[in-house]
């Protein structure tokens, strides 16, 4: 029997359901691991996004750099991280803070204090 993990709070396990929802989105994000694609993305983001059949919600989340939303909509965390690289570069802790809508320093303190 497949394991159930839906009860783990605040977690979007990247399984078949997420893969089906996020296939095209992740294809777009994975394409950014190539330099020439990053350059095209930066030159004309809309034209670049036109090549991928994203849902309107996914397209808005990419354009708005709404990283928490991208995860909900099927983005794999390691692929979403590639968008941060194109969008000026972020540390993983900054991506963490952005997902919670927190200031970086406040997020780091929350992480330090949260260790169990």
């Amino acid at each position: 029997m497949p394991e159930s993990y839906d009860d783990i709070p605040g977690t979007y396990v990247y399984d078949g359901r997420m893969a089906r929802k996020g296939r095209v989105l992740n294809k777009l994000l994975f394409s950014l691991a190539k330099r020439e694609n990053r350059e095209e993305f930066l030159r004309d983001e809309d034209a670049y996004l036109d090549r991928y059949a994203l849902t309107p919600e996914q397209r808005a989340a990419v354009k708005g750099r709404d990283y928490a939303k991208l995860i909900e909509l099927g983005g794999n965390i390691y692929y979403v991280f590639k968008l941060t690289a194109v969008a000026g570069g972020m540390k993983m802790t900054e991506l963490g803070a952005a997902q919670l809508g927190m200031e970086h320093e406040a997020f780091l303190e929350r992480v330090r204090n949260g260790v169990i």
């Binding site: 497949p2 394991e3 159930s4 993990y5 783990i8 709070p9 605040g10 977690t11 979007y12 396990v13 990247y14 399984d15 078949g16 893969a19 992740n26 294809k27 994975f30 950014l32 691991a33 190539k34 330099r35 990053r38 928490a68 995860i71 794999n76 965390i77 390691y78 692929y79 979403v80 991280f81 590639k82 690289a85 194109v86 570069g89 540390k91 993983m92 802790t93 991506l95 963490g96 997902q99 919670l100 997020f107 929350r110 992480v111 330090r112 949260g114 260790v115 169990i116």
Partner: protein, 276 residues
């Protein structure tokens, strides 16, 4: 036959690669982490393995979730650094050992493991960061990369990864060579990078894992994938790769070094060096 001299479990935190490239090892932020690896470096310098077998995972640098193999074995002459989105890191290619790689593939298939065979493989932080930490500067070893899918669920069970380690050991025992081999398992320790639970860390679980990995690794195969994710954070499922390493060692091992630091970037950093 080739000789497995020991094994190393280590985290592979990407920001450590950035710190390495920017030469931040001596800064207050990074010194505690880099210093934690000195005893491991000394052990490797003393024991001088010829080959490192590195069990790691790709995070979308070369292997992609468009086609994700559960296990993949590199059989290349060499392995360049991949592009994770920031451009490839300024590192030379890792030198492969195709003879040993092909022997491992053949032996694994005889043991009813069926890995993807990778004649070309670019490496990401899952492989490169441990190499930087264990051998700062040039790498005096040839490498065999073994990639495990830990990002597209269903990922293999902890028990399957353990059995892979046993099959790997059998392959090495049958290899007609007097080479000295170190097996490295990378990933973890506790961390969660995504969702409302982002930033979750669990020092208690990590230390239980380190204790048990040394003395009774089979016990760790009884933990479900769900429970690894619940106890150590979703991305800490990577810890199952340490079980492959551990299962390739003797049941009784001598602990040479153990180090733990949390948080480092958005993870807990762990290191264990076990000698056969």
């Amino acid at each position: 036959m080739a000789r497995v001299i020991g094994g190393i479990g280590t985290s592979h935190i990407p920001q450590v690669g950035v710190a390495y490239d920017r030469k931040l090892q001596e800064t207050p932020e990074w010194k505690p982490l880099f210093d934690g690896y000195l005893p491991a470096q000394e052990w490797l310098a003393r024991r001088q393995p010829d080959v490192a077998i590195v069990i790691y995972n790709d995070h979308g640098a070369d292997l992609s979730i468009e086609k994700m193999p559960t296990f993949a074995v590199g059989v290349a002459e060499n392995y360049p650094p991949g592009d994770e989105g920031w451009g490839p890191r300024p590192l030379p290619p890792a030198q492969g050992d195709p003879d040993l790689s092909w022997h491992i593939v053949e032996s694994l298939v005889e043991s009813e493991f069926d890995p993807m065979i990778a004649q070309e493989l670019a490496l990401d932080h899952g492989f490169l960061v441990p190499m930087n930490l264990l051998w700062p500067g040039d790498w005096p070893v040839r490498v065999v990369p073994i990639a495990v899918n830990v990002i597209q669920h269903p990922v293999p069970t902890a028990l399957r990864c353990y059995k892979l380690g046993k099959a790997l050991r059998a392959a090495l025992e049958a290899y007609p060579s007097d080479q000295k081999i170190v097996v490295i398992g990378t990933g973890g320790m506790s961390h969660q990078l995504h969702g409302e639970r982002v930033g979750y860390l669990n020092r208690t679980f990590d230390n239980y894992f380190l204790d048990t990995l040394e003395t009774d690794p089979y016990e760790l195969t009884k933990i479900s994938r769900r429970d690894y994710m619940e106890k150590a954070g979703a991305e800490a499922i990577e810890l199952i790769m340490w079980l492959t390493m551990r299962a390739a060692l003797n049941d009784d091992v001598k602990r040479v070094h153990r180090f733990y630091l949390t948080p480092v970037s958005l993870s807990s950093a762990g290191l264990i060096v076990l000698e056969n």
